[in-house]
Amino acid sequence: MSRPPTNPAPDQAWQVRTFVESAAELEARGELDEAENVYHNILAVAPYHLHALNFLAVRALERDELDESEGYLDRALRAAPERAATHQNLALLHRARGKLPDALQELDRALALNAELRSAWLIKGVVLDQLDRRDEAVMALWRGWRQFPTAQQLTETGIAPPHLHKLVRDAAHTLRTSQRALMQEGLRPVEEQHGRASLAGVWAACEIYLGERPPDYLHPLQRPHFLYLPGIPARAFFERGALPWSGELEAATAAICAELEAVLESGDGTEPYVQSNKGIDPERWRELDHSRRWSAFHLLKAGARVGRNCARCPTTWSVLESLPLPCLSGHAPEALFSILEPGTHIPPHHGLGNYKLVVHLPLVIPEDCSIRVGEEARSWRKGECLVFDDSFEHEAWNRSSARRSVLILDAWNPLLSEAERDGMTALVEAIAVFNEKYCNPA
């Protein structure tokens, strides 16, 4: 056995690669002590491994070994000064030492490097809150959050790594407190008018919106995007008679139809119905996004009158004006001609909430057109209102070789009491105020 002495140094690249995969797997399994061992192994082979340095820095921080944590972070900064995560962890270290302004500075550095680092926004919110800069705190938290995940979603969606979960829960508390305050303020006059008991459902809707209680939908196909008012029976279709004014609208069918035809003839004023911004379920809407296969001619858009279009359809507008449509800040009422080209399918989707209904006044209806809401599919019949709750999954087809046109408008769900209508109006307004104040800083 006279082999030449071999180099004892193991093959480092292979080792590091395997160690990194193992550490990530152990981390994912929650075996953090084991993962820590593996990260130490990585550093022994690759002393400037950034992920290992950051992981170990956070672990040391959690044990309150601040100097050790600083050592790792220093090394990480020397290796790569431009990593947002390192600056975020340095901010956590400063915060642990009570140096809040320094923490803030590091968070701003992290966010300058990566404005999408949601955990850095959340930590910044907490630090600003500690500095009593409340409005800025809420703004930062909301920027990092954009919605209220439940504790379960928090861990499942990976919105923040486990060591930040407590901090994120605190952030949620701060945000909710702030948002609830605006809701309470908005609902107070409604309570004074109708009594607190009559608003139990609306308060439940608030809590669901804030992620404080599960929605417990009554029907599996009901999934409102924005607000769910519990206690309202789950019904996909409503009969026309459920809306006392449907007859009035139907009586104007011929005149509205004539105005629609004039609009379509001019080809002016219609626009693609779907104009989704990047990130809103692009896969589902790819076919129809910015497509003329489904177009709209708005008379009322997000609650605002579209003057130019209304002037072209005076009869339609005068009928709309006479109806008791829901006025909800930023999103209702809407009224529009919806024009679906031959062979077009509107894929299954959900609307904003069950507190309002969608009314279709069918105007031009070829054969082979239909709409499914929840479990039931129906066809349109010219001049007969079709009324449904669009918080149920719904989809529509034009399988004919001609255009299909309907007038769409919003209506209150008639199952709401007057108190609930006023309450929902105030709630939507409070959410709009919050969004305006904190979401779109100038």
Binding site: R3, T6, P10, W14
Partner: protein, 235 residues
């Protein structure tokens, strides 16, 4: 799975020249893309090597997970110490056929590949291209070569002499010639006759026996070299 545009008759003519061929655009592109993703993200890799007694070993992924530096040093020492004239290899492996039989990872995309490789579509294609009519089944292993991986010279003959045609489906993207990991065919003297670069979505077929190796993957290789490989067998 197989690209329907492949012309087996033409390919058969090319195969006859050297009893080997590398076929481009072998799988339907979406299939190849999906398998690449699977190999990159979803496979629990083990470590394959030859132990001191000359026996092939695979260290299970769960054991690799808890490897210490000492474990690595010992394994590495052993692999590197193998005398130059003895067989050795070192790469990440996932034995697809065994995993499929044991239903080890239900839902893993590689399970469908095992079925494909044992279908008439694939075996029939192999028969047509190679002229070897007695292949009735295929085994399969997914492999990943990372820096430090290699496969020394061998000729694929097994004790039972069941292997007829070796195949490699290359599922690596953006590989560089500088990174090594090249399949090299060797003559009796050990000289390189021809090299096959691991081009994405190519299918390599060659007769057993044929001397070949896979060259050492250099430390600067920035990504894994992925393949699904095995033999079409006569029983």
């Amino acid at each position: 799975m197989l690209n329907p545009l492949l012309d087996a008759a033409t390919l058969a003519g090319q195969f006859q020249l050297k009893k080997r061929i590398q076929i481009r655009d072998a799988l339907l592109l979406p299939v190849a893309e999906r398998l690449h993703q699977c190999l990159e993200d979803e496979v629990p890799w083990g470590v394959a090597y030859v132990d001191r007694t000359g026996k092939s070993q695979i260290i299970a992924s769960d054991k690799v997970l808890r490897f210490t530096r000492e474990d690595w040093s010992a394994l590495n020492q052993q692999v590197q110490d193998t005398p130059a004239d003895e067989f050795q290899f070192f790469y990440n492996s996932y034995m697809m056929l065994a995993a499929y039989r044991e239903k080890r990872d239900p839902g893993l995309a590689l399970n469908t590949v095992v079925e494909f490789l044992n279908s008439d579509m694939f075996l029939g294609f192999v028969r047509q291209v190679t002229g070897v009519q007695d292949v009735v089944r295929a085994d399969a292993q997914a492999t990943r070569y990372i820096p430090g991986s290699f496969l020394r010279k061998h000729n694929d003959i097994n004790q039972e002499n069941t292997r007829r045609v070796a195949y490699v489906i290359n599922l690596t993207k953006g590989w560089h010639a500088d990174w090594g990991g090249v399949l090299q065919f060797l003559d009796e003297a050990g000289c390189i006759e021809e090299s096959y670069f691991p081009l994405f979505n190519t299918l390599t077929l060659f007769m057993v026996p044929m001397w070949h190796n896979v060259s050492y993957v250099v430390p600067s290789a920035a990504q894994g070299r992925y393949a699904i490989t095995g033999w079409a067998m006569r029983r």
